[in-house]
């Protein structure tokens, strides 16, 4: 245990000043005395909420957050739709955490490449993996790699300025776009494809994406799901935004709602309200005013149910997609557990743009870290990584890639609680000092890696906001890592 020693340091025979302590043979100043040091990998909501809870729970804990990109905030910056700025308010909370004297941000550090998990485990008392889900589930059908076919993850990354997606240059010169999947990400993509650009030009959507959307020929977006209306993964807020989207009209099919009315009464409230709104959109005859609005609309959106992709159809020289072949399904069972069963029928839909929005997927970071490749998560119990003392996980890496900020918040607080419990019980031995960022910084320097600090990020932040002001946008994002680093180091 750590004890204040007023006499002599055993190895050097040097009298210590009051306020200096020793832990074993290491002399530490009173500030860093055996202070538990935690490393968090990933600076999205999971990373920041985990840090927030740790700092609050223990006055002595120091938290270092490592992030691969020069900029923090993960999906809050790169995932949340540009026309949902209020959701990004959470950045203010994260900024306060980052500015806490016991929290440090190290951007531009690729964990797994610039520094290993093992090295982090040696330097810190606890390591929390919160690096989310950067991969996507593949459809696994022929034609998936044709031009004109994109994952929603990449499409969203493109319009949100994720550096690795800036070369996507999706071709929007077609009338119909098909989106596979009916979750909130699918609806975000639909909305960005169809929203009047007058609205988009006041958001933080990237300039290249805005220009592409201004030129876009897309007029019809089909949002396709394997199962029925009562299995959609989206939530009512996003569906309502589609219904209210200016200059668009819905094209829902009444037949899809046969038998749904009877099932309503047994549904839990969120599912019930959403299903009612979908039914209303499909079945109710709109008011005169609404009919007029719809007749003037230049763009159409629709949900199509009970359809699974079989093959993506190509043009004669096999260079790009011209459509998709869908299997027609029927439902077996009901509710969340209902299964889609092929009927044998198929249906071809013409489209020039196909976006697959069937789920993000976490990737393994390091062979030393257990990984469940079936569920694509790090196997854990309440955030404690299986078979690995001192290693934890939070966010989507822990539970899978679903959930909103509130879900991730609870999830991360939960992991932080496990870390604190383990420190208090001695499972994580905090009596022995660990060097933390001191040793990692040394390693990074040897390897020519220069981390970006939080104040460096704030220079990028300021520049983006002042660039945005010129065009009436909240910010104009920098789009390459090189530019970000250049600005960070000015």
């Amino acid at each position: 245990a750590c004890v204040p020693r007023t006499a002599v340091n055993v190895t050097q025979g040097v009298a210590l000043k009051p306020g200096l302590f020793t832990c074993g043979n290491t002399v530490a100043d009173s500030f860093s005395i055996c202070s538990p040091k935690v490393c968090i990998v990933g600076s999205g909501p999971a990373g920041f909420y985990t840090a927030q809870h740790l700092i609050k729970a223990r006055q002595d804990v120091e938290v270092d957050i490592y992030e691969r990109l020069p900029v923090p905030f993960g999906l809050v910056r790169f995932g949340v739709a540009p026309d949902h700025p209020e959701v990004k308010n959470v950045i203010n909370t994260f900024t306060l955490t980052a500015r806490n004297s016991r929290c440090s941000f190290y951007g531009n550090v690729n964990v797994g490449k610039d520094v290993s998990i093992e090295e982090l485990q040696q330097a810190y008392h606890a390591v929390v993996l919160s690096y989310g889900a950067e991969g996507n589930r593949r459809m696994g059908v022929p034609g998936e790699d044709l031009a004109g076919v994109y994952s929603a993850k990449d499409f969203v990354g493109w319009y949100n300025g994720l550096p690795s997606c800036q070369e996507l240059s999706p071709d929007l010169n077609c009338e119909t776009a098909v989106i596979l999947g009916q979750g909130n990400v699918a609806l975000d993509v639909a909305r960005i494809l169809l929203a009047p650009t007058d609205i988009l030009k006041k958001t933080d959507i990237t300039q290249p994406a805005l220009e592409a959307l201004v030129q876009s020929q897309v007029r019809r977006v089909l949002i396709v799901g394997r199962r029925g209306p009562m299995q959609v993964a989206c939530t009512i807020k996003e569906f309502r935004e589609m219904v209210n989207l200016p200059d668009t009209r819905p094209e829902m099919m009444a037949d899809d709602f046969e038998g749904v009315k009877e099932a309503l009464k047994d549904l839990p409230r969120p599912r019930k309200r959403l299903t009612e709104l979908m039914m209303k959109t499909a079945l109710e005859i709109p008011s005169e005013k609404e009919q007029e609005r719809q007749s003037k609309a230049s763009r159409v959106w629709a949900f199509r149910f009970l359809r699974s992709p079989i093959e993506i159809l190509a043009n004669p020289d096999n260079s790009r997609t011209v459509g998709i072949r869908l299997a027609v399904n029927r439902l077996e069972g009901s509710g969340d557990g209902a299964r889609a069963v092929p009927t044998g029928e198929v249906e071809d839909v013409t489209c020039g743009l196909l976006i697959s929005s069937i789920g993000y997927k976490s990737l393994p970071i390091d062979p030393s870290v257990p990984f469940d490749s079936h569920k694509a998560i790090v196997p854990n119990n309440m955030g404690r990584v299986q078979h690995t003392a001192g290693l934890y996980c939070s966010g989507w890496l822990k539970t899978g890639p679903t959930g909103v900020i509130a879900t991730t918040m609870n999830n991360s607080f939960d992991t932080a609680r496990s870390v604190v419990e383990d420190m208090e019980s001695g499972t994580v031995d905090v009596s022995a000092a660990r060097p933390g960022s001191q040793s990692i910084s040394g390693l990074l320097e040897e390897r020519g890696v220069k981390p970006v600090t939080f104040s460096n990020w704030e220079k990028i932040d300021s520049l983006e906001m002042s660039r945005g002001e010129a065009s009436g946008k909240p910010r104009e994002k920098l789009l390459t890592v090189e530019e970000m680093l250049q600005v960070a180091r000015k």
Binding site: E86, K88, R99, R269, K398, I405, M409, M465
Partner: protein
């Protein structure tokens, strides 16, 4: 604006508040980070105003009530609303509030860990509270947007409301607001483990 700037400079506040403030996360002033204007407005006004927003949070102390948080500092008994927060560990925290106080900001002022990720803009559900049965019906009906966000809240109950949408009135005197307990164990396949 000029007056508040004078207050700020008299308090010696600087941009690098982590150097100036002792331990921000336990200080009740820090909990007043929830700015009504929100990041959207901050971003529109530009970088300089992000300073102003942070400093504005710090200057809001008991003696300087923001209009959204409570109209009067006077100890007027007519104005008092007794509130009890029940935190996630079950601890009861009685609070003497005022008519017009907002439940989310009130919680922050008293160091109660009710998160407000979207800063009261009906874009998240992190400020969900369970309202005592006696008072639930006295609240005005939620607007559609609040109901939509509640639908996304984990552990939604019949008596759930978003704290940022509750403004205290005299007839809410005695109201008890329970913060949802965070369930341990989350599973991808939705399996809920038996409690132990």
């Amino acid at each position: 604006m000029a007056a508040s700037a004078a207050v700020r400079s008299s308090m010696g506040l600087t941009f690098r508040l982590s150097r100036v403030m002792p331990d921000c996360n336990t200080c009740p002033l820090n909990r007043l980070k929830s700015c009504v204007s929100g990041a959207a407005n901050v971003q529109r006004r530009g970088s300089f105003d992000s300073f102003r927003t942070i400093n504005r949070n710090l200057q809001t102390s008991k003696g300087l009530y923001h209009s959204e948080e409570g109209s009067s500092n006077a100890e007027d008994p007519e104005d008092v609303v007794n509130v009890v927060y029940i935190d996630r560990s079950g601890k009861r925290i009685p609070v003497k509030a005022k008519v017009g106080d907002n439940v989310l900001y009130l919680a922050h002022k008293h160091g109660i860990d009710l998160e407000g990720a979207c800063e009261a803009s009906l874009a998240c559900s992190t400020c969900q509270v369970y309202v005592s049965a006696d008072h639930f019906d006295k609240l005005p009906e939620p607007e559609e947007r609040e109901d939509d966000m509640l639908d996304m809240a984990p552990m939604l109950q019949e008596n759930s409301r978003l704290g940022c949408q509750i403004t205290l009135t005299r007839d809410l005197d005695g109201i008890e607001l329970t913060l949802p307990k965070v369930t341990r164990n989350f599973y991808v396949d939705g399996h809920v483990p038996k409690p132990h």
